[in-house]
Symmetry: C2
Subunit: 449 residues, 2 copies
């Protein structure tokens, strides 16, 4: 249907949604047209745009051959357009745009992590059944080329483990809290004023955005569909400066991590704040930057670091995908690499481990009654449940009769910890609910060199 | 000629050279056969091996269908083999193997940086004219997927600058010298005893291996052929513990860097030891690890970190290329992405800047006569040539009447520095040739977050 395999006939790309990333992509496409043509060996033309907001459209200078569509359906059904870039975000109409475009035989590129994490089965299935390409590098880590790395560079190795700082807003907030000793709410409202955080920051600070991204990463790394609802998720709202301070005394830095571990029969996928050793590379990733670390069976450790958001960095990832899809269109050779790296039908769903079954080291901050015998009581309860203590800090502060007692443990299961805290928190020895933060063992082979 | 587009007909790969990487690749191919078949959608079979050393062959368990070729030419001309992996290393017969295999219509994969850096024009030209794929991810940074990132992920952006720690042996030696205050020769001979350095370490410690790699990286990033002989190269033989110590006092860590900067009309490509700010990510890359940092016009900074050598890590890069080439063979759709990212004929050669024309900050260690007026003399000569001093350390040690005076400068050209030192080193104010180490300004946009 799409016959563009004529020398110098351009592949026409249509963009739906001209927000930050859409405008970044448009800029890149127009600015680097010569470079892109040179690298592809054929021209990539802006065939059309579709954007709901008339104000946005007014501000743009579009090339004369670019069609402005009033409705996305018109673009998706226009045979002149062979490649649709969906940058609308959200679930609908983004889902319908992708499905209709693929049904019309067009390859698609998207940055929509929420959609892929929630409706991935439907969308990846449609790409497979229509024989089109589906690019989504921009959905995780902005301009960091992690998805192509998983899909192609490491295709012959087994990925054992992934851990990433994949939300810049949360990382920015934790970085400032940690550096300046500020409260969460203070940094958040300042970040909102400066545009580093959305007016509704829920997705970013409650870990939902990170869960979307780790679900996509795990699906590609392990070849198993992942049910988003089964991923244990904790955000950073409850983090207090005092815990960042104690963490530092133990040599730890706090990061919101997405974690995915292959246990063979089951997968351990989760999002939560984690203490990392201060000499680990991930602990050095500050501000709005993202980084993903992984461990391959043959490869060993690999870390990718860069800008995880922003119109221009994310646009480079969209462009990499668009150019790959355009090659498939031009050469009449689409869908040679399945979107997820594994053929859609060949994937095997493996169950997720419930959080109670995970192993970790733990940081526990008890607010203990300042009286003799309390430490012995706490240590006793932990010891009875097989939890071995690594170190303790007790300080003589007076916080209304209670003092912080901070304990780090050796590896234990989450259920051992929860059982212990159920007893401790119900006792008269503590005055508040105990704070629990997992300590991530990133001393995987070689990661600290 | 190679018609393998039948369902379940395997693509047959032949390996020439079963050294460390060859054996790593063989292990990976046999161990992950199921995973590889699943991801490709068709089988990848070990069609044959060729290895000069009969002892090596004896130690291997090969599948029954694998042909053991006595001569590489037999494999290269065997129509059952559609993909040749050259892991012989060195210039010949590696060059002939690649050229003959491509001439016979086979795609090829290699890890041979020396060959590509020296005979790249001939070899990339052959891939283009024969319409076959040429994979060489393993030639730079072992398992780090930097070449695919440049060729595909960042294909639509302009790369402004690259800097990398791309030789593990040199980095291991510098790391140990720096941590333990040891002399170069001491660490080198220990590294040789432990197998971290070759018995002839020239390529690694004199920067030649890094020059090969930066030439390949720059060729891909900037789309310009690079003449290896024009790259200014300095190694680490002359580095003294005292300079690492002084560097630390200024907040710097010493690394052997390959650097490539696009200045538009010319390219600045070089290899030399560089002081990096201790809070930069590259300065944290220790031991045998490699890392490559780049800056894209739209992307901003990106860093990739991992194992730069070793049979198993490097084998994952070979395998990623082999799987991509195998897809091209199976689907009858080869050479859709040019090996260098740019079409071979479309590249434009840009001149390299001579070292005298580069800008840098500098660390200068003078061994000064311990007498009044020396510092004023040194500062005067530098100032007269427009070099502005950033900071000075002078210490009262007595080294046969002379004391180290260490100066760091603001940005200056190399020729300003050389002119000044020609005068100073000929004067009676200093007792030894002045030590010059460039300070690399890695505070490119965002790289320090």
């Amino acid at each position: 249907m799409l016959n563009q395999n004529e020398k110098n006939a351009p592949v026409r790309v249509g963009i739906i949604g001209l927000g930050t990333v859409g405008q970044g992509f448009l800029r890149l496409l127009l600015k680097n047209q010569g470079l892109i043509r040179e690298r592809l060996g054929f021209p990539l033309a802006l065939g059309g745009v579709c954007e709901k907001n008339p104000e946005t459209l007014k501000g743009l200078t579009l090339p004369p051959e670019c069609v402005v569509y009033r409705e996305w359906k018109e673009m998706v059904l226009d045979p002149r357009i062979s490649l649709v870039v969906e940058l609308v975000g959200g679930l609908e109409p983004a889902r319908s745009i992708l499905l209709e475009a693929m049904k019309a035989g067009k390859s698609v590129v998207t940055a929509n992590k929420a959609l892929l994490a929630r409706h991935g089965e439907e969308i990846f299935g449609a790409a497979a059944s229509h024989g089109v390409d589906l690019g989504f590098e921009a959905s995780v880590g902005g301009g960091i080329p992690i998805l192509r790395t998983l899909r192609e560079s490491l295709a012959g190795d087994r990925i054992l483990r992934l851990a990433g700082i994949i939300n810049g807003t949360a990382n920015y907030i934790l970085t400032r809290m940690s550096r300046e000793g500020l409260e969460f709410e203070t940094v958040l409202s300042e970040a909102q004023r400066h545009g580093y955080a959305e007016s509704d920051p829920t997705y970013d600070i409650d870990g939902i955005d990170s869960a979307h991204k780790i679900a996509i990463l795990a699906t590609m790394a392990f070849g198993s569909p992942v049910n988003l609802q089964e991923i244990p998720v904790e955000g950073i709202r409850q983090i207090k400066p005092i815990d960042l301070e104690f963490g530092r005394e133990f040599g730890y830095v706090l990061k919101l991590l997405g974690i995915a571990v292959d246990h063979g029969d089951s997968l351990d996928i989760r999002v939560h704040p984690s203490f990392l050793p201060e000499n680990s590379l991930l602990s050095e990733v500050d501000g709005v930057f993202n980084a993903i670390e992984l461990s391959g069976q043959a490869l060993g450790p690999l870390l990718l670091y860069g800008r995880g958001a922003g119109g221009d960095p994310t646009a480079t990832a969209v462009m990499g995908d668009v150019m790959e899809c355009a090659r498939g269109v031009f050469h009449g050779a689409r869908a040679q690499v399945p979107a997820l790296g594994f053929p859609f039908s060949g994937r095997i769903r493996r169950p997720l481990r419930p959080i109670s079954a995970i192993f970790s080291e733990y940081y526990l901050r008890f607010m203990a009654q300042d009286q003799p015998g309390t430490l012995s009581y706490l240590a006793g309860i932990l010891g009875d449940r097989g939890i071995s203590i690594e170190s303790v800090i007790q300080k003589g502060r007076d916080r209304g009769g209670s003092v912080p007692v901070v304990v780090t443990t050796h590896r234990a299961t989450e259920s051992q910890i929860r059982d212990s805290l159920a007893i401790i928190d119900a006792s008269h020895h503590v005055t508040e609910k105990t704070v629990v933060i997992r300590i991530e063992d990133v001393s995987m082979e070689g990661s600290l060199s």
